[in-house]
Structures are given as structure tokens and as C-alpha cells.
């Protein structure tokens, strides 16, 4: 092995790091270490000039290893790997120390934070000495795409990809395409017909030569990796065709919240307390009727049912306010003289044309009432016999500060949208993670809202979080863009940091074969040793730690590297003693 020549760079991240960590002291301290050729600090290492600095130094000082102490490697490891690669060094001869998220941002004592930063940088320096160059590999991309979910997001994504001449397998759990949207009568804010809107999309999807639609279909598990996935779909609970595809889009959507959990509203107890979804169905006939077949004289619409309340779901469901306003127009058209009460918490008319729609709705002879969706929910109770209404809502009206009662004959609950119970199956099959609200986690909430941490797997539409039709459509197209680009390129880079076996050391116990969750390890009877399929291997390293003979190396996370890191972390601890 050549003599390590390490360049160390400490980032200020503006004041993010520099405020809490004495970057000068860190660079001075680590500059004294063996093999460290230079140690510098700079305002923004990730910026163009910052990266340029590294490249210049690599050339000027014949560096062969680089350490950058900056933010989390989850953010910029790739950026800097690219930078060192540009200078002709293997990108894996680089290591990052996280002195922002795990140091400057969480500590308040500058001395402590600085000494911690030094420890972390030293550890990285020790570790990087044992780094080995790893070669990037790429695999060809199967041009077919699997889309899970036949709602509007799934269908739009399917069309976008299929129109480019690429194969799409669209699988839908239920017996028909269209998702929730097809159940709607009108859409907001233009009050256009949802059915008319979705019809051309359905026609195109169903008749598209490049789209294979599988109804009543589920997937259990997906094997493979980006560019080369494989699954056996189950139609009507029976194993069926095997599909091969290069990319996956999950568009599994959400389902409505069950309001019977909220005692105050008496859903299930009062027949005329119904959910927004049930009301949508009623609107299709145009006839708004109570369970006794009478036209209600008083209708209340309660917002945020199951939303924005820590007891149920803390998040906002994003669409219900506008749907509720849409209902007002529909009720008014059907029942010109009914009293409509809109019981809301904050009117979230945020989209294009939404505020204008809200203003238009106020002219529909409707009474807006504001309630506290967290502390004091309105209570629905049976009206007295001699009262000329079915039910009474008692609530604290916030804008007037009065305790009021509202006579009602029908109550529509604007229910929250929540994850399907069986979402975990999909999650496990395709390897994405869930956030606390059971939504799929995107790769980056801002800059990569449709990709996931698993290569080749994308999430679109409401499974990523509640959203309205245009936002779902945009997301669907965004995922399609990413997939089309990889298909256009034809190949994609795969995991480099896989496991590998040393035939000579392998004792043939096959422990590794048993522990590998990806069936990436097989036992070669002839050679009497285990072998790793590096395309299937995702680099978790479980086999490495299970191997009793030390025959398995987890690339980039080798024992030597980690032990060096531990030594590094502890090496400065006694200096101050």
C-alpha cells in the first residue's frame, strides 16, 4: 500500500459550524497528525470554490486520501466523493466527519464541541488510511416499470412512461382503476366533473399497448435491485405471472379515517352523521337525503375530523377544507333553502384559485363557525322531541367567543386521510421506510420528494402524504421523469459497498447464507466456500459480523476501518487528563 497522504478540510458551514466549533483549532490540531499533509478550513466546503479547493490540493500536494469535516454524510458524502473523483482519486478514498448535525448543532459549550470535533476528525483520518479503492459498477436497466396502485397518480405516471414507448405494469389491489377520484362527483376549485376528468385517462390507460393492467392484484415481495427487479404477482390471492422490471413506483394512496373513534361526533350512533366519502356517493344522485328519506333542513360540515389533533392524527389532511367548500356549492344546488353550517378550524385555501373559491363560497348563504380542533370538539347530541331538528351540535364558537348550539339534520364529517393498515406489506416488499404518520419517507423532503433511499423505488401521490389532484399528478410525472431518464441512459450505478468472501478463510459453516436477508450468499460446494452475489447484496454487513472465521469483508465497513475509527475517536481523550 502506498504511503497515505491525507488532506483534511474543516467546513465552517457559514456560522453553522464555526459558531460552535473553533475550526481553526481543529485544523491546527489535526494538521499535526501523521500522514496528514494539510489541514484547512473554509466557509462553505460544499460550494463550487470549496470543492475546487480540494481538487487543486489533490493535484498540488499529491494527496491520495481526503477527509472533510462538515455536515452529515447523508447530505454531502456524494458531493465530495464526486469532487475527489474529479481530481483523479477513487471516490472511496474519502471520509466525512459529521461535525454539524452531531456536534455544532447539538451542543452549547464551544470547548466541548471543539474537542468533540477534533475526536471525530481524528477518527475519520485514522479510518481513511485503511480505505480501499472500490470500483463503481453499473447494471443495465430493464425498461419496464412496475406501478403499484391504479389511482390517479399511478395512472398518470403509467401514461407518462408508456407514451414514451416503455412498458408499464400497473397493478391495482381492487377490481377497478380510478382510486378515490373516481368516487368524486366534482373537483375543486373549478367544480369540474371528476368522472369526466378521469375518463380520458382511464380510456388511455386501458387501451394503451404499453400498459399491462392487473386488477385484484397484490405483490408479496420484490427481489432484485434497481434496474433489475423481479416479482411474482398474486391475482385474486393466487400466485401468477412473474414480472421483471427496472423501476418501481408506489402509488398506493391513503384511506379515509374511521370517525367512530371520536365519541363527540357519534358516528355510527346517529344515522345522519356521515363521512365526506359517504356524502360524495350521495352527491352522485344529486339527492341529499337523510336516512329517513327526507331532505335535511340543516346541514353541518365539520372539518378536521381526525386531523390536527394529537389524539388522532397530528397532521393536516391538506384537501378537506377545499372539499368542504365544494360541498357547499353542491348542497346549495340541490337544496336551495337549507341552512349550511361549516364548522372549521383554519380555512386552508392555499392553492391556485382556492382563496377565490373560498370567497365565492361565502356568497352561498352559509354560516361559518370556528371551533378548537384540539381541545374542545363540538358535541353532537339527539335533539328534543319537540325541537324541529334531528340533532343539536353544541360547541364553543371561537370567533365570537360564544357557546352556541346548532340545529342539524345531517352532519358531514370531513375525515382525515390516513395510511392503509396493510401498508407495511408494500413497505417491506419494496424496501421503503415509513414516517411517524405511516407515510412513505421520501429521499429528501424538499429536493427529492419522489425518490426513496432505495434505488429505483419511487413514491408518488398521497402515500407520501395527503395531497390534492394537481399535486399528486405533478409527483407522478416527477417520478416518471426520473425513470425515463434512467431508461434513456440505459444503465444505472449499483451498490459498491457490498460484502465479499475470502475463500481461503471460509470454513464452510454457511452461517452467512442463513443470515443474509437478500439471499445474496450461496455456498459453493465445489470450492467449499460461500460466495456473494454482489448485485443482490445491499451491503448491510450482517454476514460480516456473523462470520466466525472472519472470512467476509464488508467493503468500506471493514473491521480494520471501524476499529481504526474507534481508536481515533478515543485517541485524544487522555490528552487533556
Amino acid at each position: 500500500m502506498e504511503e497515505p497522504r491525507i488532506g483534511v478540510y474543516i467546513c465552517w458551514c457559514g456560522t453553522n459550524i464555526a459558531k460552535m466549533v473553533d475550526v481553526e483549532a481543529v485544523s491546527a490540531e489535526v494538521g499535526k497528525l501523521p500522514h496528514v499533509v494539510l489541514a484547512k478550513n473554509y466557509k462553505y466546503m460544499c460550494s463550487d470554490p470549496g470543492q475546487e479547493l480540494i481538487v487543486k490540493d489533490i493535484h498540488g500536494h499529491q494527496l491520495n486520501r481526503v477527509v472533510v469535516a462538515a455536515c452529515s454524510p447523508r447530505i454531502h458524502e456524494l458531493t465530495f466523493r464526486k469532487a475527489v473523483e474529479k481530481a483523479g482519486i477513487n471516490p472511496y478514498l474519502f471520509e466525512m466527519a459529521n461535525i454539524r448535525e452531531q456536534d455544532s448543532w447539538v451542543h452549547t459549550d464551544r470547548t466541548e464541541a471543539t474537542s468533540k470535533a477534533i475526536d471525530l476528525v481524528v477518527a475519520a483520518i485514522r479510518r481513511v488510511q485503511f480505505h480501499e479503492p472500490l470500483q463503481k459498477r453499473s447494471v443495465n436497466v430493464d425498461p419496464a416499470t412496475l406501478i403499484i396502485g391504479g389511482g390517479i397518480s399511478g395512472m398518470v405516471a403509467a401514461l407518462e412512461i408508456a407514451n414514451a414507448g416503455k412498458k408499464v405494469y400497473l397493478i391495482e389491489k381492487t377490481g377497478r382503476l380510478g382510486g378515490h377520484v373516481i368516487k368524486f362527483d366534482l373537483t375543486f376549485p373549478h367544480l369540474s366533473s371528476a368522472r369526466q376528468m378521469i375518463r380520458p385517462i382511464l380510456q388511455r390507460v386501458e387501451n394503451h399497448p404499453n400498459i399491462d393492467v392487473f386488477l385484484n392484484t397484490e405483490i408479496r415481495d420484490v427481489t432484485g435491485y434497481i434496474g433489475n427487479f423481479k416479482t411474482t404477482i398474486r391475482i385474486n390471492e393466487t400466485e401468477s405471472t412473474e414480472l421483471r422490471f427496472g423501476n418501481i413506483i408506489a402509488a398506493v394512496g391513503l384511506k379515509p379515517f374511521d370517525p367512530s373513534k371520536i365519541e363527540e361526533y357519534g358516528y355510527g350512533k346517529f344515522p345522519d352523521v356521515i363521512t365526506s366519502m359517504e356524502f360524495e356517493e350521495m352527491l352522485g344522485t344529486g339527492q341529499v337525503l337523510t336516512k329517513y328519506g327526507k331532505e335535511p333542513r340543516n346541514i353541518a360540515i365539520i372539518h378536521c375530523v381526525g386531523s390536527r389533533n394529537k389524539k388522532y392524527h397530528e397532521y393536516c389532511s391538506r384537501t378537506c377544507c377545499m372539499v368542504a367548500l365544494k360541498f357547499v356549492h353542491q348542497i346549495r344546488a340541490s337544496l336551495p333553502s337549507a341552512n349550511i353550517f361549516e364548522i372549521y378550524a383554519d380555512m386552508r385555501a392555499y392553492g391556485k384559485g382556492h382563496e377565490e373559491f373560498y370567497a365565492l363560497t361565502t356568497h352561498k348563504q352559509i354560516i361559518f363557525l370556528m371551533y378548537d380542533q384540539q381541545e374542545r370538539l363540538p358535541v353532537i347530541s339527539q335533539a328534543d322531541r319537540n325541537d324541529n331538528c334531528n340533532m343539536v351540535i353544541r360547541m364553543n364558537e371561537k370567533l365570537s367567543g360564544e357557546s352556541i348550539e346548532v340545529p342539524v339534520d345531517m352532519v358531514i364529517l370531513m375525515v382525515n386521510m390516513e395510511a392503509h393498515e396493510n401498508v407495511k406489506e408494500v413497505v417491506h416488499a419494496i424496501g421503503v421506510s415509513l414516517c411517524g404518520n405511516q407515510f412513505f419517507i421520501e429521499k429528501h423532503p424538499k429536493l427529492d420528494p419522489v425518490a426513496t433511499t432505495t434505488g429505483g423505488v419511487y413514491i408518488v401521490g398521497t402515500c407520501q402524504g395527503p395531497k390534492d389532484i394537481p399535486d399528486s399528478v405533478s409527483q407522478a410525472r416527477a417520478a416518471a421523469a426520473r425513470i425515463l431518464a434512467t431508461i434513456a441512459t440505459g444503465s444505472v450505478a449499483v451498490e459498491v459497498t457490498t460484502a465479499s468472501t475470502n475463500e481461503k478463510l471460509c470454513c464452510g459453516c454457511q452461517t452467512c447464507v442463513k443470515v443474509c436477508p437478500y439471499s445474496a450468499i450461496s455456498y459453493n460446494e465445489e470450492k467449499r466456500s460461500s460466495e456473494v452475489n454482489e448485485v443482490l447484496c445491499k451491503g448491510c454487513g450482517t454476514c460480516g459480523s456473523a462470520c466466525p472465521a472472519g472470512a467476509i469483508t464488508s467493503k468500506h465497513f471493514t473491521d480494520r476501518q471501524i476499529l481504526a475509527e474507534i481508536e481515533g475517536i478515543m485517541s485524544m481523550s487522555f490528552k487533556g487528563v
Binding site: 356568497h363 348563504q365 354560516i367 360564544e402
Partner: protein, 376 residues
């Protein structure tokens, strides 16, 4: 205790002139921009809210609409075309009708025909009195002139009879107004079960009533002070005229042509000028619709202005024709004057727009009482 919302109330209120009653989305700008809104007596937003929800009880016990002098700042800055200024104006009309126990006020406000019919009825009564009844008792027109060349007005309209009639009218109006004010007091102060106001406070704060009647200090707090001036001018002219006609009629309705420096004449001129000045501003304002204050006009607003203008103009005519010795013209003017004045006093003062002359100062007084109230 919870109050039931009453969605039908708004249909009633629409007749009193509330326009786009639901446009308000409660940003609170109007209350904050209003220089008269104060702690404990917040308006217009809160009143708009009560109105939107149809909370009749709290609405009727509100004193706040009377504290608004309609500068229009709220409407100007309103982000939603909710027009809080006019909504407050409409609420004043509504409140006037709720104080009135006869129910006539509501009729007048909500039905043009009713109001016109009653005005015409009183006008006809006046005309008949002068043309038929009085002559039958021997009070006839005379073309004879006084020695100075003035019209002999008093022989046509005998002072004792007119004076007696003035007093009767004043008493009727006062009775109606006082009974309505008592109802107003009941709704605003008495019925409020949570607070209690001692008698001493009632007496102590009484001066406010007089003071506010005379000067309208609240009006002067609006950012645009010009209207306060114009209003005060009009109001003082009106009050002087009213007092002079009711209490000092023999002194005022003379056949003698007094010199110009005589207090009788300049007092009359002042009052006339004051009335005219105020009227011109209001009429031109309402026609031009430039100021928000005058942008929206209810029937009752116009009727009041037209009648007052007619009264003032006929009053001027009486004066001119009398001193110039034009008997017929004087008599016609006098009858017209009375035919407009009588319905105006009888209808506008207790039942309509003019009742504000009593309700406003009382509202300030009641506000002060409420401020001094102790929790029961």
C-alpha cells in the same frame, strides 16, 4: 348557557341594508383600524360575527353599533369587500327597530310603501287642517299685509293652536323615544344578568349624556374631523330650531319684521345655515359616492335627507315671502313646510334615522355604565 344560532335572522337583516354579510373572514383589521373601538366594546368585527351567526340576543343587547360614527376606514381597509361600515349602519337601523315597541320602526325600515304611506297620511292631515279645519274655525287666509308690508302669518296659523300642537307632537315623540330608550336600557344593561350597576353610578355618569348630546366627542375621534364639524353644525342648527319652535314659538313666529341684528333673526339664520351646510355635504356626498361613509344609501337615508331639505327650504321661503309681503306664496310655503315637518318629526324621530339623536348619547352613557359595572 348556549345560544342557538338563527340562520333566518340574516334574511331579516338584509332588509335593513346589510349587503355582503358573509364576506368577512375575520382578520380583525376593521376593529383595529377603528379609532373608536375600545377594550370591552370591540366592533365592527365582533358584531359582524354575531350577525353572521344569527345570534339575536347578543346582537340586540349590543351597544357598539351606536358608538360607530361611520368614518369608513374599516370599509376602506377591509380585504374582503365585507363593508363593515355599512354593516354597522344597518345594525343601527335594526337596533332602532328592536327598541321600538310599536313595531312601526321595523315596518318603516323594511317597507318603502309603509313609510311613504304614513308620511303622506300625516302630510294630508296637515294640509287638511290648514285648508279645511282651521278655516272652519275662522282662521282664514288674508291677503292683507302688516303695516311694515309683511304677511299676516299668525292670523292664518294662530300661535296658540300651533304652539299647542307643537307641544302635543313633542310629547308624543318624547314619550315614544323615552319608552324606546327604556327598552334599550333594559336590553343593554338590565337584562345582562352578569353585571350590576349601582344607582350612584347612574347619577354620577349622567353628565356624559348631556355632554355627548351637545358635542358628540366620540365623533371627533374619527380620523377625518371634517364630518364631525359639519354634523355638529347641522345638529346645533336643528336643536336650536327645535327648541325655538316648540318652546319659544310666540317669540319666533312673529308678524313684525325685526331688524337684522335682532337675536331672533340671526338665530334663525344660524340654524338655517347650519342645517343647509350639513345637508349639502350629505346630499352631494351621497350622490358622488366618493367617501365610503356616503357610498351606500338605504331608502331611509335618502328620505330623511329629502324631507329635512324640503323643510329647510320651505322654511327659508316662508321667511322670504313673509318679509316681502307675498301672502299666497307664504301660505303655500307654510303648509308645505308643516306637511313635511310633521311627518318627519313623527316618523323619523321616534322610528327611523333621526332617533339616533337620542340613542347615540344614551349609548355612550350606557357604555360608561357598563364600564362601571361590577360582576354580580
Amino acid at each position: 348557557m348556549s345560544i342557538r344560532v338563527n340562520p333566518d335572522l340574516r334574511n331579516e337583516l338584509i332588509q335593513f341594508g346589510i349587503g355582503d354579510w358573509n364576506a368577512c373572514y375575520h382578520c380583525g383589521t376593521c376593529t383595529a383600524i377603528c379609532p373608536l373601538s375600545e377594550e370591552g366594546f370591540l366592533f365592527p368585527r365582533k358584531k359582524i360575527r354575531l350577525m353572521q351567526m344569527g345570534l339575536q340576543g347578543p346582537l340586540e343587547s349590543s351597544v357598539e353599533p351606536w358608538l360607530c360614527y361611520y368614518c369608513g376606514d374599516c370599509t376602506k381597509t377591509c380585504p374582503r369587500d365585507a363593508n363593515p361600515g355599512e354593516l354597522m349602519m344597518s345594525l343601527r337601523r335594526y337596533l332602532t327597530s328592536t327598541y321600538d315597541w310599536t313595531g312601526l320602526s321595523k315596518k318603516f325600515y323594511t317597507s318603502k310603501i309603509w313609510e311613504l304611506a304614513w308620511i303622506l297620511f300625516f302630510a294630508a292631515l296637515v294640509i287638511i287642517s290648514f285648508l279645511v279645519i282651521l278655516p272652519s274655525f275662522g282662521y282664514k287666509f288674508t291677503t292683507e299685509l302688516t303695516a311694515e308690508g309683511g304677511v299676516k302669518l299668525n292670523s292664518f296659523a294662530p300661535i296658540p293652536i300651533i304652539e299647542a300642537f307643537d307641544w302635543i307632537m313633542a310629547i308624543i315623540v318624547a314619550t315614544l323615544l323615552i319608552s324606546n330608550i327604556l327598552r334599550m336600557y333594559y336590553k343593554i344593561i338590565w337584562k345582562n344578568s352578569t353585571t350590576k350597576v349601582s344607582l350612584w353610578v347612574h347619577i354620577r355618569e349622567f353628565w356624559l349624556l348631556i355632554f355627548n348630546f351637545a358635542v358628540q366627542p366620540k365623533f371627533s375621534k374619527c380620523d377625518d374631523k371634517r364630518y364631525w364639524g359639519a354634523h355638529w353644525f347641522l345638529m346645533s342648527g336643528y336643536t336650536i330650531m327645535f327648541i325655538v319652535i316648540v318652546v319659544f314659538l310666540p317669540w319666533f313666529q312673529t308678524e313684525k319684521i325685526l331688524p337684522v341684528w335682532d337675536p331672533q333673526r340671526w338665530l334663525g339664520y344660524y340654524a338655517t345655515f347650519g342645517l343647509l351646510f350639513g345637508l349639502v355635504i350629505a346630499i352631494f356626498g351621497r350622490l358622488k359616492k366618493k367617501d365610503i361613509k356616503f357610498r351606500f344609501s338605504h331608502v331611509s337615508d335618502w328620505l330623511f335627507l329629502v324631507m329635512l331639505t324640503l323643510t329647510v327650504i320651505t322654511g327659508i321661503f316662508i321667511h322670504i315671502f313673509r318679509i316681502n309681503g307675498m301672502p299666497m306664496a307664504t301660505y303655500v310655503s307654510y303648509i308645505t313646510h308643516m306637511a313635511v315637518l310633521v311627518p318627519m318629526i313623527l316618523i323619523e324621530v321616534p322610528f327611523s334615522k333621526w332617533s339616533h339623536l337620542a340613542y347615540r348619547p344614551f349609548a355612550v352613557y350606557f357604555t360608561q355604565l357598563k364600564k362601571n359595572a361590577v360582576l354580580k
